[in-house]
Structure formats: C-alpha cells, structure tokens
C-alpha cells in the first residue's frame, strides 16, 4: 500500500487520561488516501481514545498529521472539517431535536448559506438511505435509524476522512448489512473501530490490532484475521465467515 500522500500519519503517539490511566502508548501508523483501516482490539484497548485523537478531541503526546499538516490548537477548525467522527452512541451524536437540525449542525458551523445547507442535508440523508427524514424527531428514531442519521450528520460536512467508532454495534442483521454496504460505497479515507470481525474482514484494506494501549499488529485482513493463535492471544477471534470456509 504505497500511496503518494498519507491521509493520516501518527508518529509515536501516546495518551494518558487525567486520572493517570495510560490509554495509548507509542503508536506509529500511516493511513493512505482513500484507504480503509479497521482497528480491532479487546474492550479497553484504547480504540476509542485513538479515534478521538484523530479529530483533535483529546491532545495526545507525539505527532499527529492529517493530510500533511500537524494537528495543533490553531488549525483544529480545519482538522475537524477534514475529519468527521461518528461516535459509538448515537444519542451522544444527535443532540438537536429534529433530524434536519442535527444534520444541518455541521454545515451551519461551516458557514454555508441556507440553500447549500438544505442541499447538504438532503444529499447526506440520501447517501444513508433516509431521504425525507428531515422533519423526524431525533428521539423517536429507532437505534439503527439514529446510527444512520449520525452518519449523515457527519457526511453532510463532506469530510475527507471518516472516523467511526463501532458502527455496526447493536444493529440487527439487516441494518448491519445496510450500513456495511453504505460504508463500502463511500470513497473517503476511513478509520473504523469494531468488534465485528466479519465486518472488519469485509471492509478493511488493512487491519490494525490494538492491545493494552499498543499497536501490536497491522497488515492486510488476509494476513491478520487468519492468524487464529495470535488473535486468541489478543482476546479476539477469527471472522466466522472464514471459519465456515467462505
């Protein structure tokens, strides 16, 4: 995977929470333009922490570059425009009363005019298959719909990099498949954390394994996700669709 300009570059990135808990240690990682990197690892490994760092939501030690520019306080606005994060819990992400207001929140902050905003909202909802949901109330949506609207709310900002924390968690099989097919279609650079090994196998160009705050393995899914002894050692398991020999 040798591409000209890496979309994301992490050099010796570390992070400790204010209470002293070390969540990331010495992470070196490059994500190419248009690549999909899937991060796997057991609970508490540090996946969410890493994803938050990509959007400048926590200030890690080390160097973090997005599209070549180092993340610092003075360019956070641009970084956040370039990197869209979909959080694990859609109730955290959808904080406006209606779907329209929620999806329009990002574009509004970007200073688009009313006409452009309506378009951005319409396009984003169309992308996730929820055209016409503008007037719905956020708290009346089903979990799967909330998840999709969360995605739309980020897509409306047209980010270059899409960061998603456990997108398929708690979805029913059909909603999960729907979401996976949407993700496959999106052209952006993607960084996705998941416990769903099958999804990882389907989506990833490369898979990174985080274990106890460290990056312990990275490579194509055909190499990482087939190495059963190592996966078990990290508290993970092989994708079932491989086990069944599909």
């Amino acid at each position: 995977m040798s591409r000209a300009l890496p979309a994301i570059e992490l050099i010796d990135v570390g992070f400790a929470y204010p209470d002293g808990r070390i969540a990331l240690r010495g992470i070196n990682l490059t994500v190419g333009e248009g690549e999909t990197l899937v991060i796997v690892g057991p609970n508490g490994a540090g996946k969410s922490t890493l994803l938050l760092a990509l959007n400048g939501l926590n200030a890690p030690r080390g160097t973090l570059k997005i599209a070549g520019s180092i993340v610092a306080d003075d360019n956070l606005a641009e970084i956040r425009r370039a990197v869209g994060v979909v959080f694990q819990d859609p109730d955290d992400q959808l904080f406006m009363p209606t779907v329209f207001d929620d999806v329009a929140f990002g574009p509004l902050n970007m200073g688009l005019d009313e006409h452009e905003i309506r378009h951005a909202v319409e396009d984003a909802l169309g992308l996730v298959g929820l055209a016409g949901f503008q007037g719905r109330l956020s708290h009346h949506l089903s979990f799967g719909e909330k998840k999709l609207v969360s995605m739309a709310s980020v897509l409306a900002m047209n980010p270059k990099v899409l960061v998603m924390d456990e997108p398929t968690a708690n979805l029913d099989p059909r909603a999960r498949r729907h979401l996976l097919s949407i993700l496959k279609e999106l052209p952006q650079t993607k960084v996705i954390s998941t416990h769903d090994m099958n999804a990882a196998y389907v989506l990833a160009d490369r898979v990174a394994v985080i274990y106890q705050s460290e990056l312990v393995a990275i490579g194509p899914p055909s190499a990482i996700l087939t190495d059963e002894p190592r996966l078990l050692e990290y508290g993970l398991e092989m994708p079932t669709n491989l086990e069944r020999g599909k």
Binding site: L57, R80, F87, F95, F105, N109, M110, L137, M157
Partner: protein, 238 residues
C-alpha cells in the same frame, strides 16, 4: 421503550391553526392572555366571550375537545387552592376571577403548544427575541428528557431486580446511589455531547437556518383574532 413526549403529541395535525406562522400564534395568544389578565373581575360577559373566542380557535385547530379540556384541568387544583383561600376574605368575584383567568390562560397555552411542535415553537420564540441561551437549554431538555427518564427506569429496574422484594428505608441507600449514578451519567453524557458538537465544528454559538414566512392566512387569522379581542376588551371597558 422510548416514551412518546406529550408536550406536542398533536402537532402532527395539519390544520389552519397548526399551519399558522408560530410567531403569529405566539403573539396572538400572548395578547389574549394579557387581555384576559387585565380584564376587571366583574365583567362576566367579557369572560364568556373569551371562552367563545378561545374555543372557536380550538374548533379551528381540530384538537380533540376532550384532550383540551382534560389538559386544562391541570391548573384547577392550584387555582382552586388560591381561590378558596381568598374566598374567606374577599367577595366571590375574586374567586371567580382567579379561576377564570388561569383557566383561560392555560387554554391559550394548550392550543399554542398543541398545534406547534416544540422545536418550531423554540425557533419562533428565538425570532421573537427570547435569548438563544434559553432556547438552547430548552431544546436540549426536549431532546434528552426521555433518554433520561429511560435511564432512571433502567436503574430502578436494576435495583428492584436485586433487592429481593425488600422495600422502605433499607432501600434509601440504593435510591441515593441511583441519583448519584444518574448525575454522573448525565454529566458524562454532557461531556460526550459537547465533544460531538466540537467534532462538527461548533465554536461557541449555533446558527439557525429556518426563517418563517408570513402568509395571507397568517394575516387573516391575526386580523380576526385581534379584532375579536379588541371587541371584547371594548365591551368590557364600556
């Protein structure tokens, strides 16, 4: 499991009244309440006309009559208490005054909130000059109140599941812990929401896109309503 909010449960109705510009509605009903409150207590005819006026709006709005009446009873215990207390010292007209005025005011609010969904109402208030901070707080409240109620229900269920049928004082400590964990949950959710806002470019103040457009129906409604109101007030001060 999510319960449906009852603040604006009939806002899906598509009627003349619900289509009105929310600013016009808010102003009209505010004027109505103001007139009602300022009418001298012994003008029984005026109060009768107010009732006729507000119920003609209820009729236009197609809100179920029973719903409106039931809702409006909420105010009765409070008004009755204050009213009865006054009955000992003052003439009957004061008692009637308190009861009639509070009931009419509540009716106006019920029609307003029953025909306008809450987010729209907030936008209207905002464009009428209510501070953004206040409307933002209200909008968060509207968004999260049911998430919060659900959370309480879950915690309570978890307590019941492990309390082996014990009740009363021995459970007070558990209740305290539920409150505590609710507080922490809410606090941390607040942090996460703020992060989600930052992630989407929030920098201190939110903008609002929706602008309202006055239509001819708005003008007509406002004209009729204020004319009726003026007539009643005229009749009362004669």
């Amino acid at each position: 499991m999510m319960q449906s909010p009852s603040v604006d449960q009939f806002s899906y109705l598509d009627t003349t009244v619900s289509r009105l510009d929310p600013r016009v509605k808010t102003m009209c009903f505010l004027a109505f309440i103001l007139c009602v409150v300022l009418t001298p207590p012994d003008r029984y005819a005026a109060f009768f006309l107010y009732v006729v006026l507000i119920f003609s709006v209820v009729f236009l709005s197609e809100l179920p009559l029973l719903f409106v009446l039931k809702r409006s009873l909420i105010i009765i215990p409070f008004a009755l208490m204050i009213g009865l207390f006054n009955l000992f010292f003052r003439p009957f007209s004061v008692f009637f005054n308190i009861l009639a005025k509070s009931w009419l005011s509540v009716l106006a609010l019920i029609v307003l909130s029953g025909t306008t969904d809450f987010p729209t109402l907030l936008k209207a208030l905002e464009s009428l000059g209510v501070p953004k901070l206040l409307t933002t707080i209200l909008s968060f409240m509207y968004r999260y109140i049911f998430t919060l109620i659900d959370q309480v229900a879950k915690l309570e269920r978890a307590r019941v599941a492990r309390s082996y049928g014990r009740r009363g004082w021995s459970q007070m400590r558990a209740a305290g812990n539920i409150l505590g964990s609710l507080f922490i949950n809410t606090f941390e959710r607040g942090e996460r929401i703020y992060q989600a806002m930052l992630a989407r470019g929030y920098h201190g103040h939110a903008h609002t896109p929706r602008r309202f457009v006055l239509t001819r129906t708005d003008a007509t409604f406002a004209a009729y309503f204020t004319a009726a109101l003026a007539a009643i007030v005229w009749q009362a001060i004669q």
